[in-house]
Each structure stands twice: as C-alpha cells, then as structure tokens.
C-alpha cells in the first residue's frame, strides 16, 4: 500500500482552507517541487495578503509575509540580496497580483526578474468574503457585483498570461488548473518548470492556476470543480503563453 506522505517542504500545521478549496492542492504541488529539486534550504517564499496569507506557516522553507500586492517587489529584494543562492517564489491571489499589485507584477515580469510566481486565479476575493476580483467573469455575481459583473460599468476581466505574454521580459508563462487528476499532473509539471527555470537562471516564470472558492462562489466543492471547466476555462484557456527557451530551441 502506498502511504500518503507529506512533502518535507510542508510543515505539520493543518491548513485552514475551506473544504474543497484548491489552495491546499497547489501548496502541496509547490512543496513537492521544492523537495524534488532539493532546494528547500535556499528557498524563500513570499506569502500574499489573501486567503493564503498564512502560507508562511505551511512551508518549511524561510517565509516572508508581504503587503497586499507587493510580493514581487519583496521577492526582487530577496533575490537580489543573493542571486546565486536564493530561490524565491511568490504565491499570490488574483486581487493581490492583478489588482492592487499589478504594477509590481508587470514590472517584475518586464525585468525578467529571476523569480517564480504562483498565481491563484479563483475569480474572487476569497479572504474578504467574496467581492469582485479583476478576474471575475462577465456576469459573475459577487458581493460587490450583486447583479452580476456588468462590463459596461466596471470593465472586463484581466487575462494575466495573455497580457504578460506581450512583454519581451518574461521567460515562461503558463495557465493550468487543478480540477482533475490529469490537470493536477499538468499543473505539477508547470510548477516544476517554473522553479527549474529559476534554478537555471532563466528568469521570470509565472504559473496561473485556475482555482476554486466554493465558499464564496456559493457552490459545493464538486460543482465548483465543474464551474472551472464550464465557465473559467472557456474564458481563460489553459496552455503555455510564453516559453522563451523553448522558442529559442525551435529557432536553432
């Protein structure tokens, strides 16, 4: 029998996430990758402000809690403090990364800052109780869009991977999800690549993970997973949006 083993890079602290929330799955994938690359001792993680604010309790590597949206700037400082040794990742929600921290996101990508960004797109502000996010879908009902997101009033969702792919800077951008075993495997591959790129000095690597928030979507965990397939993926297609090294190999 295979015993379910906890990755070393995760602490023993029990997650505080709601039942059916995919934050926990992504934490686990990140920790597995840290284990596989053997980089825990030189990794510094940056937690955001959002439901994953207490990620600093869950990872065994050194952890920093950043101000809302500022994780990429903090990561820039930590990375530049010791570029040869430090492996730095941020873990950010959509409000954190694509609203209040948009400038930090875009400019760290433009600088091709050699960091790894794990971006949890759950189309909502989870922590504050379900308000409209920059990634909430047109028509999506939230606490602050109670009649559905009206694009004529508050505009369109931000497609982060598509937007950043227009920059020359970033090394690697991929959108994945974790709503099925197959998709979790893909997500793991992408996260592994995003960390490996950093180890190899390749530069800014961002993995956008379409995630669920059953609590604030007002759904059962199972329905939430379905909603990712039916509503989110059509608007936010999965796939690689940029892979500079792969592109170079093709050219060569």
């Amino acid at each position: 029998m295979v015993v379910f083993e906890k990755p070393h890079a995760l602490t023993d602290a029990p997650f505080h996430y709601c039942p059916g929330c995919t934050h926990g799955i992504v934490h686990r994938l990140v920790a597995e990758v840290i284990d596989e690359l053997g980089i825990e001792g030189r990794t510094i993680g940056i937690a955001p402000v959002g439901c994953s604010v207490m990620a600093y309790n869950y990872f065994n590597c050194d952890m920093i809690e950043a101000a809302h949206g500022r994780a990429p700037a903090v990561a820039t400082g930590v990375k530049r403090a010791d570029p040869e040794n430090h492996i730095v990742f941020t873990y950010q929600g959509d409000g954190d990364l694509a609203s209040i921290g948009m400038a930090e996101t875009v400019h760290s990508a433009a600088r091709n800052e050699n960091i790894t960004v794990i971006f949890i797109n759950n189309a909502i502000y989870g922590m504050t109780g379900g308000q409209m996010a920059p990634t909430s879908l047109p028509g999506q009902i939230t606490q602050t869009s109670p009649y559905g997101r009206d694009v004529n009033h508050c505009g369109y969702p931000v497609k982060v991977c598509e937007m950043l792919s227009e920059l020359d800077g970033p090394e690697y951008l991929e959108r994945v999800t974790v709503n099925s075993v197959k998709n979790i495997k893909n997500a793991k591959k992408a996260i592994l690549k995003a960390f490996k790129n950093q180890v190899e000095g390749k530069g800014f690597s961002l993995v956008e993970v379409l995630s669920t928030c059953p609590t604030n979507w007002g759904m059962t965990p199972a329905d939430a997973l379905k909603w990712v397939d039916e509503k989110m993926i059509p608007y936010y297609p999965l796939g690689v949006y940029k892979d500079r090294s792969a592109a170079k190999e093709v050219e060569a």
Binding site: R42, M54, Y56, M63, A67, T76, A81, D82
Partner: protein, 355 residues
C-alpha cells in the same frame, strides 16, 4: 588630518552608505534627491552592489523590505511625495521589525507642492510615517559632513534596534556643496541577524518575516515589546547640540538648514548684547526633551525656527512643558527664513514680545 573632498550633500549620503556596507539601493527619481540614485547607479555595479530603479516608491520600499528580510544593509531615498507612497512599506518594516535606512530630502507641500527646500514632513517623520503604533529614528543633519556621519549612524541604529532610521534632510542640504572627510568615518559591522529569512540551509527551523498577528492579546504584547525598545532608544540615543545656552535668556530651537540660518542670527544678536542661545536637535525622534526642559528653568522664551507652518514647535512646547512662551519664526512652501528674519524674532522676544 585626513583628506577633505568637496561633495554635494546627496552624494555624501550615497558614499557614506557604501562605506557603511550598504550594497543595495532602490529608488524612484524625484527632485531634489535624484543625485543619490545617480551616484548609486554609477558606483554599485563597480563594487558588486545592486542599484535598481524601481517602478514606484511603493516597489522601492518593498524591495528594501526584501533585502532587509534577508539580513543585509539596504536603503532607499526619496522626497516628500515619494515618502508618502512609502508609508505603507514603512509601517510593514516596523511591524516586521526590519532595519533599513530611508532618506527624505524634503520639498515643499502638500500635494505635488514644489521642489524647493522644506521641513514640512516633520510630523510625518516623527509621528505618522504610516498606520499603526510605531516610531522611526529620525536624524536631522545640518552639514554635508553630518549627512555622511548620520547616514552611517542611521544604519547602525537601524540594525541595533531592528527598525527604520530616517535621514530627514531638505533640498538645500541635499544640493549644498561642502568639504567632507569620509576617511575618518567609523563603521561598526552589522550584527548577526539570526532572524533573517535567507534560507534555512537545512540547518535550522524556518524563519518567518511577518507583521500579521490576529490575536489581539499577542499583538498587544508585540507593541509593548517594541515600545520598550523605543524607551531604550529615548534613554540612550538622543542627540542634540547646544550653542551658547549657558547664560541664555532666549532659546532658539532649530534643526537642519534652519539651524544654520539661526546660528548666524544668534551670533549677530550676541554682538548686539542679547543673550540668546540655540538647541539643535540632531535626533528629531527621539526628541531631546531634557535640554529643553532644563532651558525652561532659565530662559524667558523659546523661538522655534522652521521651514514649515510650525511642526517641531509642538515638541518644544511639550518638552518645555509650556512654562515660558514658545513662538514660531518660519517660512513655508519652499522659502527659507533669512538670518534677518530670525534676528528680528530674537529682538522682539528680548523686548518681551514688543519690537
């Protein structure tokens, strides 16, 4: 005596920071302090350091937060509007007990204001750098030499007490050229930082840099502990200079450029036989309460000379317990009081408020 070189105040700050072992600078251009960034941009790559122009003051202060978390000496500089943007970061640095040096070469405000010298960020620096209960050590140089010395001191105090030191200068001080002697600057190496988040190397439990504390009883204890440290600073690190105070009937309170102007006025008033002296706070926080309290025993009045609408005057009143009148002699919006204006104020005070 060691060699003196002619330097701008802003450049002296930059070079002194490098001498103090700072190898990371982040900033966003704003007049009148951009020479610091320009100097760092030239020097840092030559000495294995890192100069990075940030996309905003917000990003810059958070890059500072990152380097400080990793346990290295780090700085940023800006001028008034940019310091307002750094307010969030200053609060987080305080909440996470991280050392850093932040330079504010002040200009006139509020809003976009102007680009001429000012001291109108005194309240912001000494009371409200950002949200929450916290202090910064605020250092006010009055010469280019002091810009260099207090930069080094700022790093040392920041490390010693795990907090932000703010060098509070103004446009005149930043642009002014004076001879400085850098060779004699004494630097204490940074202390060990076992709390730094710079990788566990699989040899210790993970460190966490954090300002979140959701249990009020615990957050209160953190605040108590921080304020105990602040009390230690008040007891041990207060700095000021007294000038002709022994027999003074009138006491000028002034810092930075205002103190230089006032000194001329004091000298002239003395020539006219008026017994006037000056207390020049070098630390604005902690404020040198003791000398003002002592002076209140023998002076008839205080005059607070400021490049603002009157901010330090509140601390002078508090320190002297309002036992004698405290008047304001000021200019604002980028204007500087002249020695004549200060002399007028002294003469008036000497005549018991009448000219």
């Amino acid at each position: 005596m060691a060699d003196k070189v002619l330097m701008k105040g802003n450049e002296a700050i930059a070079e002194a920071a490098i001498i103090a072992g700072c190898r990371h600078y982040f900033g966003y251009p704003i007049t009148p302090q951009t020479e610091i960034a320009a100097y760092m941009a030239k020097r840092m790559p030559k000495i294995g350091g890192c100069f990075l122009q940030a996309e905003s003051e917000i990003a810059a202060i958070n890059m500072v937060y990152g380097v400080a978390s990793a346990g290295l000496r780090v700085m940023t500089s800006s001028s008034s509007p940019g310091i307002s943007l750094k307010g969030e970061g200053l609060s987080y640095l305080a909440g996470s007990d991280l050392p850093s040096l932040v330079v504010n070469v002040q200009r006139g405000g509020p809003g976009l204001g102007g680009i001429q010298p000012s001291q109108s960020d005194y309240f912001q620096a000494t009371r409200a750098g950002g949200h929450g209960d916290f202090r910064m050590i605020v250092l006010a140089p009055a010469s280019v030499q002091e810009m260099a010395e207090l930069t080094v001191k700022g790093f040392e105090l920041a490390d010693k007490y795990r907090m932000t030191s703010m060098l509070l200068a103004d446009g005149t001080m930043g642009q002014m050229m004076e001879p400085v002697e850098l060779a004699s600057l004494k630097v204490n190496a940074a202390p060990e930082k076992p709390w730094a988040t710079n990788g566990t190397k699989m040899q210790r439990a993970h460190n966490i840099t954090n300002s979140l504390s959701l249990v009020p009883e615990e957050l209160e204890q953190l605040n108590f502990a921080r304020y105990e440290r602040y009390a230690e600073i008040e007891a041990n690190e207060t700095m000021y200079e007294e000038y002709l105070m022994d027999d003074a009937d009138i006491c000028i309170a002034a810092f930075g450029i205002a103190a230089r102007v006032s000194r001329n006025a004091v000298d002239e008033a003395r020539r006219q036989g008026i017994k006037v002296g000056m207390i020049r706070p070098i630390t604005l926080w902690p404020f040198p309460t003791a000398p003002f309290k002592a002076a209140a025993d023998h002076v008839k009045s205080f005059i607070s000379v400021e490049l603002s609408m009157g901010q330090m005057i509140e601390d002078v009143k508090l320190a002297s317990e309002c036992r004698v009148p405290v008047t304001l002699c000021n200019r604002a919006g980028g204007m500087i009081p002249t020695p004549e204006q200060v002399l007028d104020a002294i003469v008036k005070a000497n005549n018991g408020g009448e000219r």
